[in-house]
């Protein structure tokens, strides 16, 4: 098996940190705990399992951002990824399409897109909550896609992927190389051990300059204002069910009974 798996990842504010707007009217992430995006962590885990099952030969993790993002690449390497790539975006702040274009450019100029049998990433980043990159990259590659995956297995020259949808699940057959995005249920990430962290420091981590790919990275959307959502008026505690019915009104609470 010579198929490689590419796992694009993102460094985000840790899921347990409450984000607030600073005096400048923006989110200041200085000093906040940063982590590998949880959905991407599941994607790394699933990619490693496919390699361990002999389906793939290697797992490459990649992120687009500043040099500080190397820490999440080291985390993925400590989990077991073979090598890592940082595409340094310097002062640019690309949007989802810019990231997809960088990933696409990397794939076709580095090993060649044909070297990869699968791109596996998280279904969304927990900071911007957009979830656009996977489908955008699939479009640029002309590959089939499956989003929000909870299970994946190899099927001939392609993949069988089970995805969460509005009312349950849908199973898709993707012929050939594909882009798949991971739900948290896809695979429970392994714990990183101290020896693996030490070992990860020896693994290859390359830095590429985004400017070498000759296309503009200016975002077509920009945030013009940020605020915190309106806080709900404080509620009251009620003693029991009878008091609750009295407070809301039985007619309102049971408005749909028999309807």
């Amino acid at each position: 098996m010579t198929m490689k798996i590419l796992v694009p990842v993102k460094r985000v504010v840790d899921a347990n940190v409450r984000v607030r707007i600073g005096s400048a009217g923006t989110v200041d992430t200085t000093g906040l705990k940063m982590s590998l995006n949880p959905f991407d962590e599941c994607a790394v885990e699933q990619a490693l399992r496919l390699r361990e099952a002999g389906i793939a030969s290697s797992v490459t993790v990649l992120t687009c951002g500043l040099p500080v993002c190397q820490d999440v690449l080291r985390t993925a390497l400590a989990m077991g990824a073979d090598d890592a790539v940082l595409i340094d975006t310097a002062s640019a702040s690309p949007d989802s399409l810019g990231i997809a274009r960088l990933l696409h450019a990397f794939m076709i100029t580095d090993a060649g897109a044909d070297a990869y049998g699968l791109v596996l990433c998280g279904k969304q980043a927990i900071d911007d909550d957009i979830g656009g990159v996977a489908a955008m990259l699939a479009a640029l590659l002309g590959w089939p896609q499956a989003l929000n995956a909870s299970a994946i297995e190899v099927a001939g020259r392609g993949w069988l992927v089970t995805c969460g949808d509005d009312a349950g699940t849908a199973t898709w057959r993707l012929d050939g190389p594909a882009v798949v995005s991971a739900d948290l249920r896809l695979a429970d990430p392994r714990r990183v051990t101290l020896p693996s962290i030490v070992k990860a420091k020896q693994k290859p981590l390359r830095t590429l300059d985004a400017a070498t790919y000759s296309f503009p990275l200016e975002a077509q959307t920009r945030i013009v204002e940020m605020s915190e959502p309106a806080v709900r008026q404080p509620g009251i505690k009620v003693a029991d069910t009878a008091a609750l019915l009295g407070a809301i009104g039985s007619q309102r609470l049971f408005q749909n009974v028999g309807a």
């Binding site: 504010v13 399409l97 896609q145 349950g168 057959r173 505690k237 003693a239 609750l244 809301i248 049971f254």
Partner: protein, 310 residues
């Protein structure tokens, strides 16, 4: 310029979600067209208030890749292509955006102007106003944030589109609807939701029976879904569904920020939890600190009594 809403068909009618996106799109102040996938659907769409033109695609149920290719072909007529923030749109719209070199935004909650929109970041902890300079903006909308357009009052013309070559490398093998107690979660006026505090699938099933008796939908926290108490489709939160019912009753849900992101716009929130310090109480209008099974049983008795009285 115009807006295009990708229509959705559900239970023999244009979906309520589509009606809400049409209303949202109309707030941009430019004509709104609707894309449909059967002649019955096109006829229904043509009657909707505020719809200028209905496009009728030749393909009845395109996969996301095929739908994206179809949108690519017609995108230059539109300054925005929109649909609801559900599976089909989340898959097809970003793909179409990349095919046409345009931007994609997800889960828009307010329209400020033709090019300015509001959406949440960080699981709704931050509300951002975003300006788009994309020639065609591809966007999904949070349906619970907009009122539905009326199904009647319109008289749009119907335009046939040429067939498009289907994207054959993606094939739907199977679609499984999760077993569901009660009503559809996204559109229910009352939601009864359970968390890890329910402690078993049996108890979640009992909560489902209560939901059924109340004419409510059953929701669940991620913890409860991960524990196997409820199907994925019942999950409410940052990575599940966003709901805004009249009344949201949370049983044994601690209230992680990721869960609150999916329900804090509910009109009335009721929390029942034995832990008085559970974060859910910070957003609850009415809180009961106590045994959730007692409250479930008493509400069920009331609901049954009212049902029998009718």
């Amino acid at each position: 310029m115009r807006s295009l809403v990708v229509g959705e068909w559900e239970d023999g009618a244009i979906s309520d979600a589509t009606l809400r996106v049409i209303r949202a799109a109309s707030e941009r102040g430019v004509p709104v067209d609707v894309l449909t996938f059967s002649s019955t659907m096109a006829d229904a769409a043509a009657c909707i208030e505020g719809v200028a033109r209905v496009l009728l695609a030749a393909d009845e149920a395109p996969n996301p890749e095929t739908l994206a290719a179809l949108l690519q072909r017609i995108a230059s007529d539109y300054s925005m292509i929109a649909t609801s923030h559900r599976t089909a749109g989340r898959s097809a719209l970003p793909r179409a955006a990349a095919l046409t070199g345009n931007a994609f935004l997800a889960d828009i909650t307010r329209v400020v102007s033709a090019q300015r929109f509001v959406r949440g970041l960080y699981a709704g902890s931050v509300v951002a106003t975003i300006e788009s300079t994309s020639a065609t903006l591809f966007a999904t909308f949070r349906t619970s944030s907009f009122a539905p357009a009326s199904r009647t009052g319109g008289a749009a013309s119907i335009v046939m589109l040429d067939a498009i070559a289907p994207f054959a490398a993606t094939v739907l093998i199977d679609r499984q609807a999760a077993a569901q107690n009660g009503r559809d979660l996204s559109s229910a006026r009352i939601v009864v939701a359970g968390g890890r505090g329910l402690a078993s699938k049996d108890n979640m099933d009992k909560l489902g029976v209560l939901a059924g008796n109340m004419g409510a939908a059953l929701g669940a926290s991620r913890a409860a879904v991960d524990a196997g108490y409820a199907p994925n489709a019942a999950q409410v939160g940052q990575t599940g569904k966003t709901v805004a019912p009249d009344i949201y009753l949370a049983f044994g849900i601690s209230g992680a920020i990721q869960h609150l992101a999916g329900m804090k716009d509910s009109q009335i929130i009721v929390a029942v939890n034995k832990d008085p310090d559970a974060p859910i109480f910070s957003v609850a209008d009415y809180g009961i600190v106590g045994d959730l099974f007692d409250v479930m049983g008493e509400l069920d008795a009331h609901a049954r009594a009212m049902g029998n009285a009718q």
